[in-house]
């Protein structure tokens, strides 16, 4: 979240790939990369929402450290030297994307989000042209009970963007997460059909921030679900200032 610069925030210098940069010390690595158009894949991170650090796609290497760091949840520091591209990082990112495709049921050719999906786009960017892991092919439920929206768990990657936007921006906290592993699911209220929710205001923010075809508008056909997330940084900023 960008905040007005105040004299109390220090500036640090750091190196990302071949770029010598300066940044405010309260910024995360991914924020600095975005400002300088250094591409880092990410799925759970979204400017305007709190940090989740769950998808691990944004992992980077820090010089002198053997373990990897999530760029979305690591703050910059003076003298940091960061590598955003390496064979090891590419291999991990590739595998994470393959695991996401293998876990649930992604059939892009018949998906409402075909052509407008962050998962699909990242797969292409990262050169995932096939999935080496066997697909699980386990059917997940679809909740069409809401009069305006639909939730298809088959396309959900559990990024929790919906949970965070509903709680932090809309203030409704309709969504949460239940169970673990492959049984993990987002739930509305206490695992009730979304259409019965007492808390949902039908604002549609969760639908707009969902990176995939999991949360969509009713009545959309193949490739018709185009999302608009422009509202988020603006609303998040207003929330922060108020």
């Amino acid at each position: 979240m960008a905040q007005p610069a105040t004299p109390t925030v220090r500036v640090v210098t750091l190196r990302i790939d071949d770029h010598d940069l300066s940044a405010r010390e309260d910024e995360t690595i991914i924020e600095v990369c975005r400002e300088h158009h250094i591409p880092i894949p990410s799925l759970c991170h979204l400017d305007g929402l709190s940090v989740w650090g769950g998808c691990r796609l944004c992992m980077v290497e820090l010089e002198g450290q053997s373990r990897l760091y999530a760029a979305c949840s690591t703050r910059v520091a003076e003298g940091m030297r960061i590598q955003t591209q390496s064979d090891r990082l590419r291999r991990y990112r590739h595998t994470i994307l393959e695991l996401l495709f293998a876990e649930r049921n992604h059939v892009c050719s018949v998906c409402v989000s075909n052509g407008h999906c962050e998962l699909q786009w990242l797969a292409q960017k990262c050169g995932v042209d096939h999935v080496r892991i066997p697909y699980r092919h386990v059917a997940y439920p679809v909740d069409s009970s809401h009069e305006m929206f639909r939730l298809d768990h088959n396309r959900c990657i559990l990024c929790t963007r919906c949970v965070r936007v509903c709680d932090e921006i809309e203030g409704a906290h309709t969504w949460d997460v239940m169970n673990r592993g492959t049984d993990c699911r987002v739930i509305s209220d206490l695992a009730q059909p979304w259409g019965n929710s007492d808390t949902c205001t039908s604002c549609g923010k969760c639908v707009q921030v969902c990176p995939t075809g999991a949360l969509v508008k009713q009545g959309t056909s193949v490739g018709e679900m185009v999302k608009d997330q422009h509202f988020l940084p603006i609303l998040a900023r207003r929330r922060h200032l108020s």
């Binding site: 495709f101 059939v107 892009c108 050719s109 699909q120 786009w121 050169g127 995932v128 096939h130 092919h137």
Partner: protein, 179 residues
Amino acid sequence: MSAPKITVATTWLDGCSGCHMSFLDLDQRLVELAQLIDIVYSPLVDAKTLPESVDVGILEGSISSDDDLEKAQSFRKHCKLLISLGDCAVTGNVPAMRNPFKLADVFDRAYRENVTLQPQIPTRDVPALRVPVKPIHGEVKVDVFIPGCPPSAEAIWYVLNELIAGREPDPSSVTRFGA
């Protein structure tokens, strides 16, 4: 005197033939391609037997039946380089959408529930269906993957030309799942 042409074999397994149609969408470029490659076996030509050794094999469709599996294995055996063409071949795509269901239920749906005249399950002269439906590389080794439903003629053109030029194609630069 020109160099010997690259031999190419193609066939479709469980697909809709759309990927082959996309290949035909190369239109006048097919003439150019014909100077460089020889299609020695394909639903698009007359030859009925797969030659002993072929340079490039192209498979459309997923492996859904015993017949699909046999074809995939024979292509792997006789082709030096094997290409999975299209999402059905690469991911299982629409044919694999039956996987979460029991095969008996799928049969019932297709041959009983939706049929008004003499509902019956075909058993003669049709290959047995396999469970689960798999992408080609789920059964045999595949060398090049061209995702897309169907991949565009441009994507097919790019990959074939890279291969003809002796380079390793990067299909993700021109196509993706669902393209």
